[in-house]
C-alpha cells in the first residue's frame, strides 16, 4: 500500500505583496486502509479538522478562499472565505457556475470563461485575474488559481491524455488592496524615478553631484554626476576616501580635510573651493558643501554634501576680469577717450581730458569751449557736425585737428552715435581717439607714394603684386597702367587685361616662364618681351617677379620696366658700330690702294729715270765714235736713281716698323725748314698761304734720318696748308731749344682749327677730316717722332687755327 496522500504545490502563492507565506496546501484524499487503522484515522481526522481550521484562519487572514468546480454538474463549492471575498455570508447559499458567472464583472465575464475554456482544452491549469461585483455593488479584483484537476477515478490505468477533467480545485484571492498598493507603489516609484532623473539632469546641468560619507564605516556613496565631475564612470565601482583624497589637487588636499574635520567637530556646514585632478590629468575647480548628520547620541554619523564643478564659471570670471582689464588698458594705450551727452549732463572720460590737454577739474567743456580748441581750418565743419548732431540727432565719424592749450597740434578721430531707447532719443555717446601719429604716418605715406609714383614715372618702372593663379591684383602702380597703355584714372583692371596687351608672338614665352616659376616656386625675370598698344606701337618691356614666400601659391611681387628706349639706343649703337667697322675697313682698303699707288709712283720715278738713262747710255755708246762722256754721265745717273729707289723703299719700310731710326746723320734743322718751305711754297701760293719761318739761333742740330725728318715736316706743313686751303692764311714754323735742351718745333696755321676734343684722336691711325685723306699722315709723323724719343701734340690756337708741336732730342743726347 502506498501513501495516497498527495500534496500539491500551491502555485502562485509565493507573492511578494503578501506578508504571510503559504507554503503548501493540500487535501487528504480517500484512503483505502481506513478500516485498518481507525485510530490513526480518527487522529488524522482531528488533525485534519485542526488543519482545516488553521487553513480557514489562514485563508481569512490572507483573504484567500478556495473552491471546487465540478465540470460535469457545474456545481461549485466555495470555502467560507470565498463567500466572504465575494461579499456573501459563508455558505449563505449553494453556489453553481451560473451564480459565479453572475457575480463576475460584466466587462471581464466573456474573457474569463474563454480563457478557462482554452486552458481546459489545452489541458493546462487555468489562472485568471478578474473583477467581481459584490452584491453591495462594490467591485473587487480577484486572482484565481487552479491548483488541482481531478479526472474520472483511475479504474484502470489509461493514459492521462485521454482523461477528461472532471473537477477543478483552486483558490481565489481578493487582490484589490494589493493591486491598489501596487499601483500606488508604482506611481510613487515613477515619481521617484522622474524626480531622480530631474535631479540627475539638474546636477548634470549645474555640474553638481552629491555624496554621502558614512563616518562610521567610512563608506562613500557618489551620485552619477559626481563620478562624471571626477572624470569617472558610475560603473567604476565604489569610492573610498583614499581615492577621493588622491584625486584632490595636492596643494588643496590638506586644506580640504582640515575644513571637513572642522565641520565634523563644530557642526558648522563645510564649504570649500578646491581643485581636483581627473584621471586623464585635467584639473578642474570644484565647490564642495557638506553637512554633518548626527545620531541620537549626538555623534557625527554621516556627512552629506554636494560638489559643484565651477571650472567653467571660474574661467568665465577670469575671462571677464581679463577683458575688463584689457578694455581699460586698451583705451589707455589707444589714446581713446569716451564721452556721453544727454539730459543728465555731459560726461568726459579721464582719457579724453588727457587727449585734449584739459584739466578734469574744470569739468567737460561747452560746445563753444571745445570749438575754440579746434584748429581754425576745421572749426566750421566741426561746428556744423555738432549742430547736426544736436538738431537732427545725426552721428558722425570724422578726423579733426585741435590745438591743445600747450600749443600742440593733434589729430583726433571723433565718432558719435545717437542713443535711442524704445524709439526715444536719449542723447549721444562717443569716442575720441588721438590719431596724430597715424595721421602723420598716413601723410608721410602719401608723400612717399607720390615720390615713388613720380620716380616710377620718370624711370618708366612700375611695381605690382598679384596672384597669377587666382588672377587677383593686390597692387598695380600707376606706371604699370601707363606702360601697358592704360590710363591709371580709369580704375582697377583685371589681370587678364594686362595679359591681352602682350604681343601674340611673345605671350607663349611669358606664360611658360610664369607657369614654370609658379610651380617651381622660384623668382623669375623676363628680360624682354613686347606689348602692343592700342595705337599699334610696339613697346619692349622687362619684368622681374619675386615669389612672395609669405603668401599663397602664385603670389608674386615685382617690377616692370620700359626698355624700348634702351633697345632703340642699343640698335643705334650697333648700327654706328657697324658703320665704323665698315669705314675702318674701307679706309684700310683705300689706304692699301693709296699706299700701293704711292709706292709704285715713288719707285717708278727713279726706275724710269734709270731705265731711260740706261737707254741713253747705250745710244751714246752706239754713236760713232761713241760719246763716252755722255755715256759716263748717264751711268752715274743710273746709279743715283737706283739708289733713290732703294731709299724710297727703305723709308717706306721704316714707317711700318715702329720707327726704328736707321741711317741717322747730323741734320741742320734750319736747312730742313728752308728746304721744306721752298718745296711747299708753290702749293702754299696756290691757296694764298704765306709761309713764315722763325728759327731761333739756339735751334740745335739733331741726329736723324733726313728722309724721315722731311716726312715729319712735310706732313705737318701739308696738314696746315690743308686747313687753310679754302680761306688762305699764314703758316708759321718756329724752332728753338726748349728748357730740356731738346729741339722744339711748332707749326701753326690760321685755318679751321681742331675739332673740339679731337686733339689726341687726330694722331690715331685712319683718323681723317679730309675726303681724300688716308688718315695716316699724322700717325706716321707721330711714329717717326716717337721713334727718336720725341713727342708730338696739337692744340687749338687762341684765335684761329691750330698749332702742332714736336720735340726731338738734340744731337748730343741722341749720340749717347
Amino acid at each position: 500500500m502506498s501513501d495516497n496522500i498527495t500534496i500539491a504545490p500551491a502555485e502562485g502563492a509565493n507573492r511578494p505583496s503578501v506578508k504571510q507565506r503559504i507554503e503548501y496546501m493540500g487535501v487528504v484524499n480517500d484512503m483505502a486502509e481506513r478500516k485498518r487503522i481507525d485510530e490513526e484515522t480518527q487522529a488524522l481526522a482531528r488533525k485534519l479538522e485542526e488543519s482545516n481550521a488553521r487553513l480557514e484562519e489562514a485563508q481569512r487572514v490572507a483573504h484567500v478562499g478556495h473552491w471546487e468546480w465540478d465540470l460535469e454538474t457545474q456545481e461549485v463549492v466555495w470555502s467560507d472565505e470565498t463567500y466572504r471575498i465575494f461579499g456573501l455570508k459563508p455558505q449563505e447559499r449553494p453556489m453553481d457556475l451560473a451564480g459565479v458567472r453572475e457575480m463576475v464583472h460584466p466587462d471581464d465575464r466573456e474573457s474569463l470563461f474563454e480563457s478557462v475554456d482554452a486552458d481546459l482544452s489545452a489541458g493546462t491549469y487555468p489562472v485568471a485575474e478578474f473583477r467581481i461585483v459584490r452584491p453591495s455593488g462594490e467591485v473587487r479584483t480577484m486572482h484565481a488559481i487552479t491548483s488541482k484537476r481531478w479526472s474520472a477515478p483511475p479504474v484502470d490505468s489509461t493514459s492521462e491524455a485521454s482523461e477528461r477533467a472532471r473537477k477543478l480545485f483552486g483558490t481565489v484571492q481578493d487582490i484589490t488592496e494589493s493591486k491598489r498598493v501596487e499601483a500606488e507603489r508604482q506611481a510613487l516609484s515613477r515619481d521617484l524615478q522622474e524626480s531622480n532623473a530631474r535631479l540627475e539632469q539638474a546636477q548634470r546641468l549645474v555640474h553638481m553631484g552629491y555624496y554621502e560619507w558614512n563616518l562610521i564605516t567610512g563608506r562613500v556613496t557618489w551620485s552619477a554626476e559626481l563620478y562624471r565631475i571626477y572624470g569617472l564612470s558610475p560603473q567604476d565601482g565604489p569610492i573610498d576616501m583614499a581615492l577621493v583624497s588622491e584625486m584632490i589637487h595636492p596643494e588643496d588636499r590638506e586644506r580640504v580635510f582640515r575644513e571637513s574635520d572642522q565641520a565634523i567637530r563644530s557642526g558648522v556646514p563645510a564649504a570649500a573651493e578646491h581643485r581636483i585632478i581627473r584621471p586623464d590629468g585635467e584639473v578642474r575647480t570644484v565647490h564642495g558643501l557638506g553637512t554633518v548628520k548626527r545620531d541620537a547620541a549626538g555623534l557625527a554619523s554621516e556627512m552629506f554634501g554636494t560638489v559643484q564643478d565651477i571650472t567653467d564659471r571660474k574661467r568665465a570670471e577670469q575671462a571677464l576680469r581679463e577683458s575688463q582689464f584689457y578694455l581699460s588698458e586698451g583705451e589707455r594705450l589707444a589714446h581713446m577717450g569716451s564721452w556721453a551727452f544727454n539730459d543728465s549732463g555731459h560726461y568726459w572720460s579721464d582719457e579724453l581730458y588727457k587727449i585734449c590737454g584739459l584739466d578734469p577739474k574744470n569739468g567737460a567743456p561747452t560746445v563753444e569751449q571745445y570749438l575754440a580748441l579746434v584748429h581754425p581750418q576745421d572749426r566750421s565743419s566741426i561746428a556744423e557736425s555738432i549742430k547736426l548732431m544736436l538738431e537732427e540727432h545725426r552721428g558722425f565719424d570724422q578726423i579733426e585737428r585741435i590745438i591743445r592749450p600747450d600749443g600742440q597740434l593733434r589729430y583726433l578721430r571723433a565718432v558719435s552715435v545717437p542713443v535711442v531707447e524704445l524709439g526715444v532719443f536719449k542723447g549721444f555717446i562717443g569716442t575720441t581717439m588721438d590719431v596724430t601719429e597715424q595721421e602723420l604716418l598716413t601723410q608721410e605715406l602719401r608723400r612717399e607714394q607720390a615720390y615713388l609714383a613720380e620716380a616710377q614715372s620718370l624711370t618708366h618702372i612700375g611695381s605690382w603684386a598679384a596672384n597669377f593663379l587666382t588672377g587677383q591684383n593686390y597692387h598695380v602702380s600707376d606706371e604699370v597702367y601707363r606702360l601697358h597703355g592704360f590710363e591709371p584714372a580709369q580704375g582697377p583692371l583685371a589681370l587678364e587685361r594686362f595679359w591681352k596687351t602682350i604681343h601674340p608672338e611673345d605671350e607663349p614665352l611669358v606664360r611658360a616662364v610664369l607657369t614654370n616659376a609658379i610651380h617651381a616656386r622660384i623668382d623669375y625675370e623676363i628680360r624682354e618681351f613686347r606689348i602692343c598698344l592700342p595705337d599699334g606701337t610696339i613697346r619692349f618691356l622687362r619684368t622681374i617677379g619675386h615669389r612672395n614666400p609669405a603668401g599663397e601659391m602664385g603670389d608674386y611681387i615685382g617690377i616692370t620696366m620700359d626698355i624700348t628706349e634702351r633697345k632703340r639706343a642699343e640698335a643705334e649703337r650697333d648700327r654706328l658700330r657697324q658703320i665704323e667697322a665698315d669705314l675702318a675697313r674701307v679706309n684700310r682698303v683705300n689706304l692699301m690702294g693709296e699706299l700701293a699707288a704711292a709706292l709704285a709712283h715713288e719707285i717708278k720715278q727713279p726706275i724710269t729715270a734709270s731705265v731711260t738713262s740706261a737707254n741713253a747710255l747705250l745710244r751714246w755708246l752706239a754713236h760713232d765714235p761713241p760719246d763716252l762722256d755722255r755715256a759716263r754721265a748717264a751711268a752715274s745717273r743710273i746709279e743715283e736713281d737706283a739708289n733713290r729707289a732703294a731709299n724710297v723703299i727703305d723709308s717706306l719700310r721704316s714707317f711700318y716698323r715702329t720707327g726704328t731710326p736707321t741711317q741717322r746723320q747730323v741734320i741742320n734743322v734750319r736747312e730742313i725748314i728752308e728746304q721744306m718751305s721752298s718745296l711747299l711754297r708753290g702749293e702754299a701760293d696756290r691757296h694764298a698761304i704765306t709761309i713764315r719761318s722763325e728759327v731761333q739761333s739756339d735751334t740745335p742740330n739733331i741726329l736723324a734720318n733726313p728722309v724721315q725728318l722731311q716726312q715729319v715736316f712735310m706732313n705737318l706743313m701739308l696738314n696746315a696748308i690743308e686747313a687753310m686751303k679754302d680761306i688762305g692764311g699764314t703758316l708759321t714754323i718756329r724752332s728753338r731749344m726748349d728748357s730740356e735742351n731738346r729741339l722744339f718745333v711748332s707749326i701753326s696755321d690760321t685755318g679751321v682749327g681742331l675739332p673740339t676734343g679731337y686733339a689726341e684722336q687726330i694722331f690715331e691711325p685712319f683718323h681723317t677730316t679730309k675726303p681724300q685723306g688716308t688718315g695716316m699722315g699724322l700717325t706716321i709723323t707721330r711714329s717717326i717722332v716717337e721713334a727718336y724719343g720725341g713727342r708730338v701734340w696739337a692744340n687749338a690756337n687762341q684765335g684761329m687755327g691750330a698749332t702742332f708741336h714736336f720735340t726731338l732730342p738734340c744731337e748730343a743726347d741722341a749720340a749717347v
Partner: protein
C-alpha cells in the same frame, strides 16, 4: 720747208731724275731738249717757229698734265703732246688721246717707244706749221682784195651765178665779171674749184 730748223723736245716732269734722263735720251738721237719742272715754267718760255713737241708728266705738283693740256688749247698754243705717267689708267689715257695727245706712255717706258712718239709728234707739228704758213699766205692775198671784190668772192664760192650776184649786190653783170676776174687773179686761183678750196682754208680766219 725750212731745212735749217732744229726740232726741239720740251720736257715737263717734276722728277729731276726722269727729266735729266729723258733729256739725255733725246739728245742722244740728236734732238734738242729743254726741261721744265712745272708747266708754268714751260709757258714762260718764248717759243721759236721751229718744230717742237712736249713730253708731259701727268702728275705735276700744281696742275695735272691733263689740265695743262686743256690750258694750252685754251691759249691757242698748238703743240703735240706725249704723256708719260707713273700710274696711268685707261680712262686717263683715253681722255688724253681724245684731247689730241700723240701718245700716252706709262713709266718706265721703252726708249724706242718714246723716240718714235717724239718723231711722230714732230712730224705732226711740222705739217701743222706748213698748213699754218699756207693759210697765212692766202690770208695776205685776201687782204689785197677790195671790199667789193671780197663780197663778190664770197658769193662766187657760195655757188651763185654772175647774174644773181649782180642782182644781189645791185650792180650789172658786166661789173661782176670784172670783179670776179680781179679776185681770181689776186687770189692766184686758176679755176673756180681752186678758189673754193682757198676759201675753205681761209674760213676760220674769215669768221
Amino acid at each position: 720747208m725750212k731745212a735749217a730748223a732744229v726740232p726741239t723736245v720740251f720736257i715737263v716732269d717734276d722728277d729731276g731724275g726722269v727729266r735729266r734722263a729723258v733729256q739725255d735720251l733725246v739728245e742722244s738721237v740728236g734732238l734738242r731738249a729743254e726741261c721744265f719742272a712745272t708747266g708754268q715754267e714751260f709757258l714762260n718760255k718764248k717759243r721759236t717757229s721751229d718744230p717742237s713737241c712736249l713730253v708731259l708728266d701727268v702728275r705735276l705738283p700744281q696742275m695735272s698734265g691733263l689740265d695743262f693740256q686743256r690750258n694750252l688749247a685754251d691759249l691757242g698754243m698748238q703743240i703735240p703732246i706725249i704723256f708719260i705717267t707713273a700710274h696711268g689708267d685707261i680712262p686717263m689715257s683715253v681722255r688724253a688721246l681724245k684731247s689730241g695727245a700723240v701718245e700716252f706712255l706709262t713709266k718706265p717706258f721703252r726708249d724706242q717707244d718714246l723716240l718714235d712718239a717724239i718723231q711722230q709728234a714732230l712730224q705732226r707739228d711740222r705739217a701743222a706749221r706748213e698748213q699754218q704758213g699756207e693759210v697765212h699766205d692766202l690770208h695776205g692775198r685776201y687782204l689785197a682784195l677790195t671790199a667789193r671784190e671780197r663780197a663778190v668772192m664770197g658769193l662766187v664760192v657760195a655757188g651763185m651765178l654772175n647774174k644773181q650776184i649782180g642782182s644781189e649786190l645791185g650792180i650789172s653783170e658786166a661789173t661782176v665779171k670784172i670783179h670776179r676776174a680781179n679776185v681770181m687773179q689776186k687770189m692766184q686761183a686758176g679755176s673756180l674749184i681752186e678758189l673754193v678750196r682757198i676759201a675753205d682754208k681761209l674760213k676760220p680766219g674769215l669768221r
